[in-house]
Subunit: 309 residues, 2 copies
Amino acid sequence: MKTIRIKAPATSANFVCGFDIIGFAVESPGDEVELRFNAAKTIRITEITGSDSLSSNANENCAAYVLQLFCQKINTRQGLDIRLHKGVPIGSGLGSSAAGSMGVLYAANILFDSPLTDMELVSLAMQGEAFISGALHADNVAPCLLGGITLIPVQDPLQIISCPVPPDLGFVIALPDFELPTKEARKVLPETIALKTAVKQWGNVAGLVASLFRKDTEQLAMFLRDHIIEPARAALIPGFYQVQRAALEAGAFSCSISGGGPSLVAMTRHPSASGEIADAMKNAFTGAGLSCRCYVTRISKKGCERVDT
Amino acid sequence: MKTIRIKAPATSANFVCGFDIIGFAVESPGDEVELRFNAAKTIRITEITGSDSLSSNANENCAAYVLQLFCQKINTRQGLDIRLHKGVPIGSGLGSSAAGSMGVLYAANILFDSPLTDMELVSLAMQGEAFISGALHADNVAPCLLGGITLIPVQDPLQIISCPVPPDLGFVIALPDFELPTKEARKVLPETIALKTAVKQWGNVAGLVASLFRKDTEQLAMFLRDHIIEPARAALIPGFYQVQRAALEAGAFSCSISGGGPSLVAMTRHPSASGEIADAMKNAFTGAGLSCRCYVTRISKKGCERVDT
């Protein structure tokens, strides 16, 4: 029986000021997904490795949920077996649910000979995000599929724009040892904000996008400020400001919450300094009483990728 | 005595969703400014044509005010005579004060052999805007000086980014026959907005900027929605929604308030249709009981320009 194996990258959503509209894919960590037909006419999760907490009940698992939507959409009752190796930690702010669902959808689209477009795959995966977090957002699933830095300026009708990826940017992701479900991270957001603050934020968004297209990472740094989401969520992450300061002092030009947290992502124009930045962030989290693991990585231009051939 | 003569273009700020951060210069209308040294050691306005309502008292006139700031900055007590031919109607939403002040500053910088940078000229002109409207904003003065479509993502420290100008865009500006001072237009803005709405707006801003850099005017149209400022200001302009609908039905792909209004600016990918769009907008304003004049124009890539040589 043919088995499709997919590597689906971790992603960092809410790119600093670009809450809910800009995300990017990284080279590591990532999930591995295997998908194949079964004779049982049902969708099953036959194995999950790399995570103890994820349900393998097909009615509770996000990847299985979006695969059901996929099958409904292409009108098939074909049974499918999913094997899921979680490399992206759950509740980390690194698009764990997006990697699982997008990997499964990408695999399914290959198994069934590409019945759906990229936009349709993203739309299905967004429903998985809503299933998990209660909010429909595409800034993990779109970069997970397409790779690189991805804008989702409008969700309905869905618009996706890939931005140029600046060369030579290094990333350090520091993940402290606790889970922060996206649902919880959404609860602390303000319902209303001052118009003045909103104008600052969309000014930074405009500058960020323009700097990416102009490939000007020096200017980019000017716009990596978040006046709204970061102040609201910082309190959910013990030591946030200390870790941020440590990263900046060690040579990062930006350090902010990845997705809904608790991981923080730091950027540097000197990837050779990434090790030092990682050490500084780890030490600062330790100072706040949290152990933490770090990923030293780059932007992945690939997105989901078939690895069985 | 050497006289410098400058043409300073009208500008349209608050480019649809880009409130306070994106503006562009148009080929017409424009102000003409003449500046020369006098022996009186004072700044005088010797003539104003094209407007009955503008004060020629140097302490009340915005162009004279910024010229005083210029002289203080370069530390001169040289007297100067200003002649101002207003082509940009006052209180129109077309950057009338910006054209006058930027024209004078640009002329002064030539007269004194370029002591100030573009950034310094924009900063001075912004103080003129605050003098007039009570709010420091650069989305008229920056495009007036530099031409084209200009982003001002951050005001402090001032950041200016010129965007690529899509070829073959036509513009129709419809100016109904009443003045709407920027100060009044600012009063109706909400102090706070829903975070959800703000996210929609910065999504559109991101899409707008990306589309400009990708030179994709078809996609651009998708993002020309303003969920915040337009709904608040529409009521200040009788017939707003009728005129907007008329412009869209006549072939424009966007029609929104220029600056603080009351002029409306419509955009088309078919400049040959501009006459028809202008007629439709004029008729709709007439239907709302307002006479109106229309400018059929294009984006000016030049900004302020010396015309005496």
